[in-house]
């Protein structure tokens, strides 16, 4: 069975040193990253904030939040590569900015076909045998609230050189009844380049350009695969 997310989105988060005050709607428009209609809409949003500590810009399809140490771009509505493009565009403008890490994050809310399936997924990833021994089912109900698994690209007996990891989180969906929420954080550490003496933002822009879409495909397959395997259906792919 193929599972389709009722809601699927992405956030791109960069950690570094930023000047939130420069991220105005006008700056984004003047640099060609927002169209006139999007810019007008973003200016009229109650969420438009532009200060030295934080700035937020929101259109119908994307939200941008910049703090002094973090830049976050979040998709709204149906996901499209336009989210990647605006991230790449913004970082391309910050060529002298140093970024130490970037997260390519995807999340999905999946509706289960029945409450039994919903519980089955939770029971597979967090078996209740031990819990039910301690909290008898006669007067207790135990359930999984959140589960995060970290995946490093090394064998267990090896030490990871870089901090590149994937963090996969499973929770009950707060938006869909009998639904699962799955998220995948594809975390990349960015090392400063001592030779060029320029910032790493340009390099991060290229990384996002190259890896965001494969990461999207991988996350979608991963989420479906986790659900299918938990329900004993084998791989959907």
């Amino acid at each position: 069975m193929r599972y389709t997310a009722e809601i699927f989105g992405s956030t791109i988060v960069a950690v570094g040193i930023f000047n939130p005050a420069m991220f105005s709607v006008d700056m984004l428009k003047e640099n060609g990253l927002l169209g006139t209609e999007d810019a007008d809409l973003a200016r009229d949003q109650g969420s438009y904030v532009l200060t030295r500590q934080v700035s937020t810009v929101e259109t119908e399809w994307v939200r941008l939040q910049v703090l002094e140490n973090q830049l976050l771009i979040m998709s709204k509505g149906a996901l499209s590569p336009a989210v990647r493009d605006i991230a790449v565009g913004i970082l391309s403008l910050l060529s002298y900015t140093n970024i130490s890490a970037v997260g390519l994050n995807f999340f999905g809310h999946y509706k289960m076909s029945s409450r039994a399936d919903y519980h089955r997924v939770g029971d597979v990833f967090a078996p209740k045998t031990i819990w039910n021994d301690i909290f008898p089912t006669e007067n207790h109900n135990t359930g999984m609230e959140t589960l995060t698994v970290v995946v490093q690209p090394v064998r267990r007996d090896e030490t990871a050189v870089m901090g590149n990891v994937k963090q996969i989180t499973l929770q009950p969906s707060k938006l869909i009844s009998d639904g699962l929420f799955l998220s995948c954080n594809d975390h990349h550490v960015v090392e400063a380049d001592d030779h060029t003496k320029t910032g790493t933002a340009e390099r991060v822009a290229r990384l996002i350009e190259a890896k965001w879409e494969p990461s999207w495909v991988e996350a979608g397959k991963l989420f479906e695969s986790l659900i299918s395997k938990a329900l004993g259906e084998g791989s959907p792919c």
Binding site: T4, A5, E6, I7, F8, G9, T11, V13, V15, E30, N31, G32, L33, L34, G35, T36, E37, D38, G46, S47, V49, T51, Q53, V54, T56, E58, W61, R63, L67, N69, Q70, L72, M74, K76, G77, A78, L79, S80, P81, A82, D85, G89, I90, S92, A101, G103, L104, N105, F107, H109, T146, T169, Q171, K174, L175, I176, F181, S183, N185, H187
Partner: protein, 193 residues
Amino acid sequence: MLKSRVALPNVPLDGVGAVFVTQEPPPGVRVAWKAREANWSLQDVAVNPDYEIAKRQIPDSPLFDVLPPPSVFAPSPGEIVRSSLIQTWEGTVVRVNEESHAMEVHLNAKIGQVPEHAGEIDLQWVSEQDKDLVQPGAVFYLTLSRRVKRGSVENNQELRFRRLPSWTKRQMAQVEQDACMLLSKMKAKPIAE
């Protein structure tokens, strides 16, 4: 009154790291915050419909008193839109036909194994803000989705052109410099006798 910026203790910043930011809000605007740690998940940040729900989820946080009430990441319940993606195509404009008011395009589906195909899209589907981007070679995204908003289901189609930053004066100067260097290295091809 809201206080100055507060950082969570013992919480390392990572790709989706935790930051609490509070500040004096300018008149008429709300204050932004984002909190992932202290039991906040990406899901909470993305979908929590209001401050009260958020408050219940971190009842004992000593930092909570300095958090500002509304979040820019907290849409009101009526604003929450469920969008189930049906297909996204990445398209390239091949030719613009002014007479038929349409553009000939190549479309690459992003979901599933669908072969590339060609098509024609009427320019009426291009938003006003993207009209000046319609030219051969331009990239756009055509997204089909099923939206559930305030209880009603609708099919939704979105056409959005790729936007890249304008070239800076420095980049233009660099291109010119590179072009001059290339030109200086070029020699006329000898004519065979």
